[in-house]
């Protein structure tokens, strides 16, 4: 177990609660220092980035994790809630249990990165900056917490924590229909949370830690089949209940992904959310759904993952194709990107449904890549929207000559998004499809899904054509090219996209050991 501490506090705790510290600092800032608020917020997120870099330097990619406690790194385990409860087998014990393995580590990096980028992109927020950044940092805490929590209860707490600031960020700083979008987002996610909560409680009551004999929320213990007595709710004898639990969890997480038919909150939320929040939403929040599936559904109910392989693959295929078709019909740039996110998250689902090592590697890699690429795309939408105050695709044309640097940035992002080789998403999509083909049960579905590659290219190219090609309408002569701040927020991401496209091993090495372990675990090979 790698220990890495700062002032006696583990590095993961620092990463989770640093934004909270930032919140406090922001709240304590006097009115006279209001113009420095954004810099302080950026400062804190950049600290987060530094910590992530430190983590990256120390991280040992040869440790597997997943269902072995010893394979987790930077583990912090403290008793959080410990109360005697005579009705519930003696005591309720909930742990403050953090750690990372190859599945969560890319997500932690992504969160740190996107949070930083989002903070820079938030400079265009003019209304009540203090409140905005306080909520923003709170959101970062929630996201980071989800990715490092290893106790289901703690996970759920962070999962729900994240909702609140998101609600306000969309509902206060959003576009015209912000209240609708915010409420839709909130209720929809809460609806999903209810399922997760149910399963969580069910798991708790069917568990019995083989070592302590207590009921537990510890995910790693829950992955151990010995934890469940055969006749408990989710014990081996109750196959039906296990499958139902898997399905319920899947619905809960699918809403976040979002998987068809639970995706409709996404376009609304994206369209209404301010740019930086769209970036966070697409860059990190969606991954929480798929991450949750891998970490919880796939690991705790591997039988469910095997059983539901085909339905999940079908949903994934629908996501891919249907999302792309819907994207093609959009006239709002941001909505188009939102639908493309749905399509791309379909790839992630497909990779996970394959339950093969290559597919899940691809899925996690795609999660990371989609985070970076879509972040750039949403930032680009923000660039044009800040200048023109419209996002209608048909309102533009010929921007390529007017804004050449912007054109270059968005071209890289767009081609990355359609999986052009040399850019990171190509590798992940390739892996996902290879995984899909490898699994004979979902092979046909995966083959059908490749239609998505074509459709994807079609709407992206059409978008490029409508926005950038042709002649510039008179009224857009006022537009200026992308400025330095926007370049700072986009170019590093693009550099990462290109770098990972050429040297994917950099990221794959981080996760492949864990993914191997996970796949072996799913198929019961150990």
């Amino acid at each position: 177990m790698i220990e890495f501490k700062l002032l006696g506090i583990g590095i993961l705790t620092w990463m989770v609660f640093l934004p909270i510290l930032g919140m406090v600092v922001l709240l304590l800032m006097p009115k006279s220092a209001e113009k420095y608020i954004k810099y302080v917020a950026v400062g804190f997120t950049s600290l987060l980035l530094v910590l992530a870099a430190v983590l990256l330097a120390v991280y040992d990619p040869s440790k597997a994790g997943v269902n072995t406690l010893s394979g987790f790194q930077f583990v912090e385990k403290l008793t959080w809630i410990d109360i005697p409860a005579y009705l519930f087998d003696g005591r309720i014990k909930i742990e403050y249990f953090l750690g990372v393995d190859g599945i969560s580590f890319p997500m932690v990096l992504l969160t740190a990165l996107i949070s930083f980028v989002g903070a820079i992109a938030s400079f265009s927020v003019k209304r009540n900056e203090k409140g905005y950044y306080v909520m923003y940092l709170f959101l970062v805490t929630g996201m980071m917490g989800v990715f490092v929590a290893l106790d289901f209860f703690l996970f759920f707490v962070f999962w729900e924590i994240m909702l609140l600031p998101m609600y306000f960020l969309i509902g206060i700083w959003g576009g015209e229909r912000r209240e609708y979008a915010a409420i839709k987002f909130f209720l929809y996610t809460l609806f999903g949370s209810a399922f997760i909560l149910l399963v969580m409680i069910g798991l708790y009551f069917s568990s019995k830690d083989p070592e302590t004999g207590l009921r537990t929320f510890n995910m790693i213990t829950l992955m151990d089949p010995r934890t469940f007595a055969p006749d408990s709710i989710f014990g081996v004898l109750n196959v039906t209940w296990r499958l139902i639990a898997f399905a319920a969890l899947f619905v809960g997480f699918a809403i976040k992904v979002p998987a068809f038919p639970f995706h409709t909150w996404l376009p609304d939320a994206h369209v209404e959310a301010p740019t930086a929040i769209s970036v966070i939403l697409a860059g990190v929040l969606l991954k929480m759904g798929t991450y949750g599936m891998l970490r919880i559904s796939w690991s705790i109910f591997p039988d469910g993952a095997r059983y539901f392989m085909v339905p999940i693959a079908i949903i994934a295929a629908i996501n891919i194709i249907y999302g792309a078709l819907c994207a093609m019909a959009q006239k709002d740039f941001k909505k188009l990107i939102a639908y493309s996110s749905i399509s791309h998250m379909g790839y992630v689902l497909l990779g996970m449904a394959s339950c093969t090592q290559i597919g899940i590697n691809g899925a996690i890699f795609q999660m990371f890549n989609h985070g970076t690429i879509t972040a750039v795309l949403f930032l680009s939408v923000g660039v044009i929207y800040d200048r023109a105050h419209t996002r209608g695709l048909n309102d533009f044309g010929g921007l390529a000559n007017k804004m050449p640097k912007y054109f270059a940035v968005i071209m890289v992002a767009m081609f990355a998004s359609i999986g052009l080789p040399g850019l990171s998403a190509f590798i992940s999509e390739t892996f996902i499809f290879l995984g899909g083909f490898k699994n004979e049960f979902i092979r046909v579905i995966a083959i059908i899904s490749t239609l998505g590659i074509i459709l994807n290219a079609a709407y992206i190219l059409w978008t490029i054509q409508r926005l950038f090609l042709g002649t510039l309408p008179e009224k857009w002569n006022i537009l200026t090219d992308i400025n330095a701040r926007e370049l700072i927020s986009t170019v590093p991401l693009l550099v990462i996209v290109i770098f990972l496209g050429i040297f994917p091993s950099f990221m794959i090495n981080l996760m492949t050991t864990s993914v191997n372990q996970l796949v072996n675990f799913i198929w019961g090979i150990n």
Binding site: F260, M328, A329, T356, F426, L469, T471, N509
Partner: protein, 678 residues
């Protein structure tokens, strides 16, 4: 020599990349937009690749594999590793020279052609990017990496077709090119997946070894081969995905010469050549027929086109079909030979077309040209040389390669018999058609009387930057560069270097096809050679003669003739209505499906969500009412009851102890009676 094969290929690959990066980021600051930088780099590159070719001739094959990334050891897939590497073999060495030569000439040509364009620097940067990707494509020893560069050439093709994106047509053409290619690429990708999942490695050597070891056989092998071939169909504009190439002529003409005539479109042929040894008999049948059908369809379309570039585009498609067919019938080296000769003479044709367009101030319609021979003699003679080559007139490189292919088709039909005779028949027919439409183009453009006097008067010969590439390419269309024997290239250096490989599946039989062992096939080729040569000479002669009869001597009234076969003429003029067909079916279907799903999403899926929300709201209104009236009513009733009792009992709660005492006593009395009763 070792050094030349180990390190220089990397250099060759990186030099155009350097050109791209420098021009993309600093090009605007360089004098003259940096055109000299890119051009000189490319000529250096050409020199290096020439050196590599010689080095290869001496030292032979070289292959280098580096681990790209690996997924560790896994019980399901085994040790999963992906490699990156390059190889130098005869195909690569020759392709390097071809690509670099044409690219260098196009760079030079473009200096004048693109002069004054607002995006001049960007143009050169894109040329660099394309050259990089194309060289990567030919250098790699790995089919996945090949796919990578395959897509990158697609990207640069997209960027260059849509170079004049202010206009509508280039935008559409670029998009179409990319998407149509993408369709083929999906097939290609699926093919790669099959190979990877069955063989577990993607380097060509491993794949061939795997197939030889029988890891991949039967229907799966055929499927894999056909899927890979899909990529070639897309990139080499084969039927039914050929529709993008004529549209791609919207790009600058030098780009058409480089990408859409000589190199990128040949990548498909190159791919088929690379995987030739693992194509099963059935797959080869499909390859052959796709090739010949493409060749035939596009040749018929080329007959009636009036845009100089469109004619050339269809002729390109037709010739690509030839190459594909050649590989299909088993004449691997002839197909590749034709690829190389075609690259030079077609590049020459396109560049002369560019020169004409430049001279005519961007007129492309041949009906407005005529008599240009006097105004642009160099252009005319180079064009003539290339036309002779493509028509298969002896003493040209085209004659050598084409004749070889035709003999191969004959040999093929001779072996397999039956329906396969369609292949040589169509092949010879196409050869005649080619000669006819190429000379039609030549005659209308350069001979006869000028039709647009004004344009004609302003017309002039192109400057040296343009003519030097033309002359060089025209010279390269001469037989002597490939073989000293003007009638057969069999003993020339080219075919000595590019030996026919024996198919791994030699001896297997498909439905229409019998893959012969190499020796037997060579024997058949020998027998067919003389017949094929005589036939092809005859047929191209007829084609040329007819063209002269129709358009030069005007012995036949062409208008009348076309009127008499109007439907056929229109069919050809409208390109067999492929575009319309695709627009009406696939495109329209996708678009309406897209609109439908968007509608479905907004109305149905989201409708369900919103509906459930409003249902909940309405429901909550009623539950609210229910709550207010019934539930709360009950509560209120209880409350009211209690209140009423309270009011009643309040009377007793006087706050006076005496009253309480009175009740106490009363209670005692009651209790007494109660206990008495018990």
């Amino acid at each position: 020599m070792e050094f030349a094969l180990q390190k220089l290929p990397v250099l060759v690959l990186l030099i155009p990349m350097l050109s791209f990066l420098v021009l993309a980021f600093f090009g605007k600051r360089l004098p003259r937009g940096g055109d000299w930088f890119g051009t000189s780099l490319l000529f250096i590159n050409l020199a290096i690749s020439g050196f590599i070719l010689i080095a290869f001739g001496v030292a032979g094959r070289y292959e280098l594999n580096l681990e790209w990334f690996n997924l560790g050891n896994n019980n399901v897939l085994g040790l999963t590793k992906f490699f990156a590497g390059f190889q130098i073999d005869e195909l690569t060495a020759i392709m390097l020279v071809v690509v670099n030569a044409i690219s260098a000439f196009v760079h030079l040509f473009s200096i004048k052609y693109m002069e004054g364009d607002t995006k001049y620097t960007r143009y050169y940067a894109f040329l660099g990017l394309f050259t990089f990707s194309m060289l990567g494509l030919v250098l790699t020893n790995n089919i996945l990496l090949m796919y990578v560069f395959w897509e990158l050439v697609g990207l640069s093709s997209y960027l260059l077709i849509g170079f004049w994106y202010e206009k509508k047509a280039p935008q559409e053409a670029a998009k179409k090119a990319f998407l149509v290619n993408r369709i083929g690429d999906v097939g290609f990708f699926l093919g790669i997946s099959v190979l990877f999942l069955t063989i577990g490695s993607l380097t060509f050597t491993d794949i061939f070894a795997g197939v030889a070891a029988g890891k991949l056989a039967g229907g799966t092998l055929t499927a894999a081969g056909l899927l890979l071939f899909c990529g070639a169909v897309g990139k080499s504009a084969q039927f039914p995905l050929h529709v993008w190439l004529p549209d791609a002529m919207e790009g600058p003409t030098p780009v058409s010469a480089l990408i859409h005539a000589a190199t990128m479109v040949a990548a498909g042929v190159y791919l088929v050549a690379r995987i030739f040894v693992i194509l099963s008999a059935d797959a080869l049948t499909v390859v052959t027929f796709i090739g010949i059908i493409t060749a035939f369809i596009s040749a018929t379309i080329a007959l009636t086109q009036n845009d100089i570039k469109k004619v050339l585009a269809y002729s390109t498609i037709s010739q690509l079909g030839y190459m594909i067919m050649a590989i299909g019938v088993g004449a691997y080296s002839f197909g590749f030979f034709h690829l190389v000769t075609h690259a030079f003479f077609k590049a020459c044709l396109f560049l002369t077309a560019g020169s004409v367009i430049y001279g005519m101030h961007h007129i492309q319609d041949i009906r407005e040209m005529g008599g240009l021979r006097k105004k642009m003699p160099i252009t005319f003679y180079t064009f003539l040389m290339a036309t002779l080559a493509i028509s298969g007139v002896p003493l040209t490189s085209g004659f050598l390669s084409k004749d070889a292919i035709l003999s191969a088709t004959l040999a093929f039909a001779g072996v397999n018999g039956g329906v396969t005779y369609i292949v040589p028949i169509l092949a010879f027919g196409v050869a005649g058609l080619t000669a006819f439409y190429m000379f039609r183009l030549l005659i209308i453009t350069f001979l006869g009387e000028p039709k647009n006097q004004e344009k004609y008067d302003h017309c002039h010969e192109s400057p040296w930057q343009m003519t030097i590439p033309l002359i060089s390419l025209a010279v390269l269309s001469f037989f002597g560069f490939f073989s000293l024997n003007p009638l057969s290239a069999d003993h020339g250096w080219f075919l000595s270097m590019v030996k026919m490989p024996e198919s791994i599946l030699a001896g297997t039989k498909g439905a229409f096809y019998h893959i012969l062992p190499l020796e037997e096939f060579t024997e058949h080729l020998h027998h067919a050679h003389t017949t094929a040569m005589i036939l092809s000479l005859l047929i191209s002669g007829i084609g040329i003669l007819t063209a002269f009869v129709f358009y030069y001597w005007k012995k036949v009234n062409v208008d009348k003739l076309t009127d008499s076969i109007k439907p056929l003429y229109n069919f050809s003029l409208n390109k067999w209505y492929f575009d319309e067909l695709y627009d009406k079916t696939a495109v329209a279907f996708t678009m309406s499906l897209s609109r439908l799903s968007s509608w479905f999403d907004a109305k149905v899926v989201d409708g369900v969500v919103n509906g459930s929300a409003s249902f909940t709201r309405v429901f909550s209104k009623y539950t609210g009412l229910f709550d207010n009236i019934f539930v709360d009513g009950l509560v209120n009733l209880m409350g009211g009851l209690v209140g009423a009792f309270g009011l009643l009992f309040r009377k007793f709660q006087t706050g006076k102890i005496q009253t309480y005492i009175a009740f106490l006593v009363f209670g005692i009395i009651i209790l007494y009676f109660v206990f008495r009763a018990m």
